[in-house]
Symmetry: D2
Subunit: 348 residues, 4 copies
């Protein structure tokens, strides 16, 4: 199979760098264009990127000349890691011009005809694409992946909702510094501290999962009818968002049943054997003090969500803890998995 | 007024050191005896303590010779900062021999005739002392202060419960390293990590507040009938436990009413003018990203609980964040405030 | 004595906030004007400052309306905590207009007629002021304090140089995050990391001490003839710069003699009894693992330099470790002490 | 080639775990025995190890039953990661009984007939083995690798010494927490702090390199005649020791010559193509703020030493910064590379 040429919009930022890392030596995709803002354009990527991933910048990519975010690049598919201040318009421009846009930005996530996609959870929402294409008048379209904290939460809620019906969720997140990008959080705010607020995050956590868990019906997504209430906090961790969940079910299951359902979850996209898909989307850890970012964030190459401490709660029904690698499963890896799904479903 | 001579049991540990610091130059108490285990006894305190408080060890205290934890010391009142593996028996031994024991240890907290005391919340529970004294056959007795995380939670619940009736609480704590004592948490577990488990902590958080908020009736405490469900986590913070709360009330109040009730809380002991009592037991912070340990843990010299982010919740009724200085308001300062209450009430 | 009215230029930054904190309730000075950039001017200080000091913003100061950095304010003396990108010109402008400028900025430090001042070390350099005044044609002038890392180093070198003659120094610093201001170092660069480079810092450390230790002769300072070689590193510490020193003397002294000279150091300004002067400018700590930022940075209210681990070296002569509180002794406190010296010497 | 069966002594500790990780799927060695103290013996490794490496414990190894550290195991070669309190005797016992002991412990490092080995630096010291064997009266023997900080320092000094003659070195280390093992440094000592002391470390740093850089002559090693003076500090970093060096040469070279010699270094063992040998033992990084632990510690899979900031010094001749991964190149990886060298040289 010949590899598909892809571009990366916003290639110099934190998520852009992760995309570069994860797409290097990808079996299906080949980085052909790196796009960034005007001040970077025209220079070799290695000269202008402030590379922050410990594996180092891939040699051949370092030499690629950076271009502008304009829909004239030689690629069928573009990954967007653009800042939300500019992503909306640029992504639309690419879609209008026939590109498939796989975006990590929040701008189009809640558009009624744009799939907010987690392959294991709602591959069926790809049906929105046909509807969306009409908007752009061409073969281009946009798919998005959810916010990093949402991704971990929704992956865990999906099998529980399917099996037992989820009614209410209270979630407190302890989110990693990398979620704020670079330079992001000041060290004087991070050291020896917790910041009990992340701008816009609780709103996303309370709404995005409802769309993702919703049903495609009569040409649109009907949101899942459940309630989520969120507390979002920033803690002194590099990568890996920890979330404590308290859940009420339609019918309270046994603890063992919950663990079985989580461990056995395969997801809608399982049979497609996508290259970035983890063998187990959810890994249950029996240790009494797990999951922990430093020990568990790389499970499934950062694409699995780790779950532990499933136990009964005296308020609502059950409590558990989950951990999601925010820049892999929650951002760059999520986008790549979405692109793989599109290709496997012959939508590119 | 002549100062009361006091002893400190377990004077070399983390809480013991805080007691030494806070009792130095105390207007009512005077440290007369420092007691520790056999291997320290007979040596000057300054030679054997691994002092960890940034203000330095008070000069005159450094010279005090450390004694054994035996009820022969020249003091009326002893503060106990003993490890729970030995606290139970030693404290009983002191009470039996006529000492007033003000303990921070968990061993006797849930004894039916021992007050689990926060002066602002349940000074009325001092009535248990008369009953308890019969147990020891003498004038000695034990009073205890709650667990550090419980202290912050209960101080905030008290005025809300009085005003609106609290029915259910879900709390997620992000607790400081100093709560585990010294050496406590290994640095390799703390750096770049969250540990979603603290041994025995969730049980305390779910039960101790019910006793504290209970009512003295017919010679015993009737627990308050409300439900608390807890998630306890360790984060990389030196001092200051942050707790996110979601609360259901008997009758849902307006947001402003909650803030007013919290800010206006004075507590049962207000009129006694205790030297360690903060002017405001609860300080409401309007900033959208407060309270934060690094900025707010020392409010009221570490004796006030800081509260912020009061907002409605789609599950249960309201959400908020609180911060309590765990080694001051949650341990050494709590014990000293209890001793001051005893003296003000002429129980010593 | 009536208090002197003072202004603070750059009042909203990290050093500006420390100046506000330390000048509140100062026995000799009274904050009359807070000056900042155009976007802050006209608003109450409390509304626009992003206050980061744990003691909280003093109530009366919060209400002060912020003004522009223009030499029309009602004050005799201004403290400058301006960024070096603008400090040069603004400070000159104030001096020209008759103000006494006490600056923490680097712009004028090496001007031949500007004292680079540490009261305990080179109060005699105040003689430069008469010469400098001619430059401005008026009674205004500028005095500066050294870079934070330089301040600790020079205070320790002074008594050693006086007693034994210092020839060569190799210094490796491990500098606190607050030295970079706010937001300063990104948390992703600080967590789990050492950055072995601080822009411009090694140059300052290798040159500023030579001027400070120099001699006033024939109307100018003759630099001290000794060699300093520096390695500067940023580490994950909030406040407190640690420096390891290896020193060669003109005549190698005994270890005890070094400790005696350091411990006994009082400095030129000792008899003036300046309010911010520490009782001991240098505190020698005998513990084998001291000084440590978390334990020792507040010695002498942050105005003393802590020294430990004095021992022979097989290369050059002696090794030791020092710790200086960078935002107090190394910045705001240094400037205030300089202003106190000026007042005591009747130069204001 | 059939794999050599190996045992690991002290398999549950921090270095023991790294050995397990790095030996899993090793092309030449196969873990056959895991040995630990009495309290662990008889149980599956996975049940008793407190595994702390983020890649997870290899499945087949988890099932291995742990044995005692007794020379009856089915293996030719044992890796020793024993604590120095017991390593000396146990290692001798294995050597006496005919095992090849490849040790990371310090006990036998300075024995006159035991090679203190870095394959790239002093493979020629293997000649000591013939002499040592006589001590044990059998075919067993011990080889050791140096202390973690020494390993980085010596690898960098070797090519410089060969090319220009090194006379004097002043080194300040900023060492990672993992160097102290687990639990090791308390989090309350690590957070927001630098500890300017590591027990015994400076002595090792000042002596071990002299043996490693020494010459085998008349049946013994003649130490290299140069002087090293060390300051050792603990900083809040998980893995990776940073060292600042100031060096005096016999003949001061040009800066470019130093960089060329470092970058071009291949080492004595280069032609043997050992599986764990990095392509480049020393990687020179031109960035002005490199090397940094978080970005550079994994260069060469943690087996290369990263060097940066080569520049002239006004005291002695040159300054530079190096970074060595302390648990890989400085411990477990070092031991494995030594074992590979023994096999390649047909000494097993």
């Amino acid at each position: 199979m010949k590899k598909i040429k892809v571009g990366i919009l916003g290639a110099t930022g934190a998520v852009g760098q992760r995309l570069v890392q994860l797409l290097t030596n990808h079996p299906w995709f080949e980085i052909n264009s790196l796009c960034a803002s005007e001040k970077s354009a025209g220079k070799p990527y290695g000269d202008i990127v402030n590379w922050k991933i410990s594996t180092g910048i891939p040699g051949e990519i370092a030499k690629l000349k950076v271009g502008l975010c304009e829909p004239t690049i030689d690629a069928k598919l573009v990954f967007s890691a653009l800042d939300s201040s500019v992503a909306g318009e640029i992504e639309e421009n690419f879609a209008k011009n026939g590109y498939v846009v796989v975006s990590n930005s929040r701008n189009h996530r809640m558009d009624s005809d744009v799939p907010l996609l987690i392959p294991e959870v709602n591959a069926s929402h790809l049906k929105l694409i046909e509807i969306q294409k009409k908007r752009w008048g061409l073969r281009g379209f946009i798919v998005t992946n959810p916010n990093c904290t949402v991704c971990g939460l929704t992956l865990v809620l999906k099998p529980l909702d399917d099996a037992f019906g989820v009614k209410k969720v209270i979630v407190t997140s302890m989110q990693a510094l990398s979620g704020a990008g670079y330079p992001g959080v000041a060290s004087l705010d991070a050291l020896d501290n917790v910041i009990p607020y992340i701008d816009g995050e609780e709103e996303k956590l309370e709404t995005e999962p409802l769309k993702i868990l919703g049903e495609f019906k009569n040409g649109r997504i009907v949101d899942r009818d459940l309630k989520i209430s969120a507390h979002c906090n920033r803690v002194s961790v590099r990568d890996g968002h920890t979330e404590t969940l308290t859940i009420e079910f339609e019918k309270k299951p046994a603890r063992d049943a919950i663990i079985k359902v989580l461990s056995g979850f395969k997801g809608e996209s399982y049979k497609l054997d996508l290259p970035s898909a983890p063998k187990k989307p959810i890994v249950y850890l029996p240790g009494r003090d797990r999951p922990q970012p430093v020990l568990d964030r790389n499970i499934g190459d950062g694409m699995s969500v780790a779950v532990g401490r499933v136990r009964e709660s005296s308020v609502l029904d059950f409590k558990l803890v989950l951990l999601v690698h925010n820049t892999i499963r929650g951002a760059a890896g999520a986008a790549i998995l979405n692109a793989e799904l599109l290709l496997a479903k012959r939508l590119i």
